[in-house]
């Protein structure tokens, strides 16, 4: 299996060609998939529309998950924001509420875009839809930001992993935060080097995060981790735009994530045999909702 390019290589290419990360990824993908950039934009626009629908749907607060454990929290946070009571601030609350909304739709068997996975599907819509509003970016730029996110995700997938079963939640929510931070910088008008710094800062914060879903379901802690990962990405965007740099380059952070993922015991990688999944409350949930072993 050929390994894809590294972030360093992408940055070098972007610098040489004078392209943003998103535009570079678009160009490379058009070559790779033997199609036009316009066709790729249209396909990404479909994803963007599904993301927007999921936000709207999630904010209604009517959907419950299969187990009944999650649903309705996005609406609560949004109502508090709309009432002007949000202590963390309007932008952050809006970002987090949207991330919750999409993750809740996912848990309730609604339609979402895996980004990079279903479990972490709220992070990118939360961060990018909100930043696009704040910066006044048009859809064209938003689509390019999504390609920038995809480019970073492709590096992570080929150099490490984007699956909780292989790398823990750092590989899902961590990767999503990393991708969202890099794409967010692009929306905010930063350059590819700043985007990589933002991605590195966001991912570093989530290194070591285990995958310990209660009863093995993509519900708890997944939904709220989407909100936290989105908030983390937002902060990384601000830091990078302020000129703050990551001392460890993104490629090396990804390498570290892979190492940590391999060292993580299986009990903390999606098997629901450790961490939160083994708490007394979680075990009760498991008994209550999933009595399907004695069948």
């Amino acid at each position: 299996m050929a390994k894809g390019p590294t972030v360093k290589e992408l940055l070098a290419q972007a610098g040489e060609l004078g392209l943003s990360l998103g535009r570079l990824v678009l160009r490379l993908q058009a070559e790779e998939l033997e199609t036009t950039e316009q066709a790729l934009r249209l396909k990404m626009l479909e994803n963007l529309q599904v993301m927007r629908q999921a936000v709207v749907e999630g904010m209604t607060g009517t959907r419950r998950s299969m187990s009944g454990l999650v649903g309705g929290d996005a609406k609560l946070l949004e109502e508090r924001r709309l009432a002007g009571k949000s202590l963390s601030g309007d932008v952050l609350a809006r970002t987090a509420a949207r991330a919750l909304a999409v993750a809740e739709v996912n848990a309730g068997m609604g339609k979402i875009v895996a980004a990079p996975t279903a479990g972490s599907c709220g992070v990118l819509p939360g961060v990018l839809l909100t930043l696009a509003e704040e910066t006044g970016a048009r859809d064209e730029l938003l689509l390019e930001a999504l390609f920038a996110a995809a480019g970073i995700g492709m590096v992570i997938a080929s150099q490490a992993s984007i699956s909780g079963a292989q790398g823990g939640c750092q590989a899902e929510c961590g990767s999503a935060a990393c991708m969202a931070a890099a794409a967010g910088v692009e929306l905010a008008g930063g350059d590819p080097v700043q985007a990589a710094h933002a991605g590195a800062m966001a991912l570093k914060t989530m290194l070591g995060l285990v995958c310990d879903p209660v009863a093995g379901l993509v519900e708890v802690p997944c939904v709220k981790r989407n909100a936290a990962a989105a908030a983390n990405a937002l902060l990384a965007v601000d830091m990078a735009m302020a000129g703050i740099k990551s001392n460890i380059p993104l490629d090396e952070v990804i390498w570290a994530m892979d190492q940590i993922g391999s060292a993580m015991p299986c009990s903390l990688k999606e098997t629901a045999q450790g961490g939160l999944a083994l708490t007394p409350t979680a075990l009760q949930v498991r008994e209550g909702f999933l009595g399907n072993r004695e069948r």
Partner: protein
């Protein structure tokens, strides 16, 4: 593994889990495609994590949705069991130990409306991707990423050469080929993954080779 931007931002799917929901839909759909007709009866053996968490992830709904011909983004997936009932498709779930296989695995025993039957075993290997590992008693490796030709034939000299000659004549490039057989001279199953679709005359001629009992072309999954 072909990694494109849309493997990362995508697929559009019904939640909650790419492996336990989206992958399960694709496994069901692939099994239906291999049966090559609408299933009328299905006994679904669930293994490992599929067996333990299928209700919470809607894995049962997802597998049946696939059997009904739905894709991963079909909003009818949550109602798949009702829809199966409406179409008189009988479905039964059993938990099973399928041996030393991926934790997210299932074996689907299908009977079709027009009398064909097949057993398809496969796994959801992450991110919605699947791998079919057994068709009836033949070990296979089928990911659904390529155009695929599945041929059941007698294991005798020259058959494979005849098939590849017909494919070459139709300008179809073979990416991978794998033959598996029960024992020498008995029935064999060959899987050819190709860069171009196998259709029309080429498919027809391969199906009519004397040693061939069945030839089925499968499109790459969306």
């Amino acid at each position: 593994m072909p990694v494109s931007a849309f493997d990362i931002i995508g697929p559009v799917m019904i939640g909650p889990s790419s492996s336990h929901t989206a992958g399960a839909v694709r496994l069901g759909l692939m099994a239906r495609t291999i049966l090559n007709q609408e299933p009328m009866e299905a006994i679904i053996h669930l293994h490992g994590s599929f067996a333990e968490t299928y209700r919470g992830h809607g894995t049962n709904l997802a597998l049946v949705a696939g059997l009904l011909g739905m894709g991963t983004d079909d909003e009818r997936i949550p109602r798949a069991l009702d829809l199966a009932r409406e179409r008189n498709m009988q479905v039964e779930f059993v938990t099973a130990d399928l041996g030393d296989v991926h934790p997210n695995s299932a074996m689907l025993e299908l009977k079709g409306r027009e009398g064909l039957s097949v057993r398809v075993m496969g796994s959801s290997v992450g991110g919605g991707r699947i791998l079919v590992t057994r068709i009836d008693d033949f070990p296979v490796e089928l990911g659904g990423d390529y155009h695929t030709l599945i041929v059941v034939h007698q294991d005798q000299p020259g058959v494979v050469a005849q098939m590849t000659t017909l494919l070459a004549a139709a300008q179809v490039n073979i990416a991978q080929m794998r033959l598996s057989r029960q024992k020498k001279g008995a029935e064999a199953l060959t899987i050819l993954e190709t860069d171009q679709p196998v259709e029309g005359a080429a498919l027809d001629l391969i199906g009519r080779l004397r040693a061939v009992s069945r030839a089925l072309a499968v499109k790459p999954m969306a």
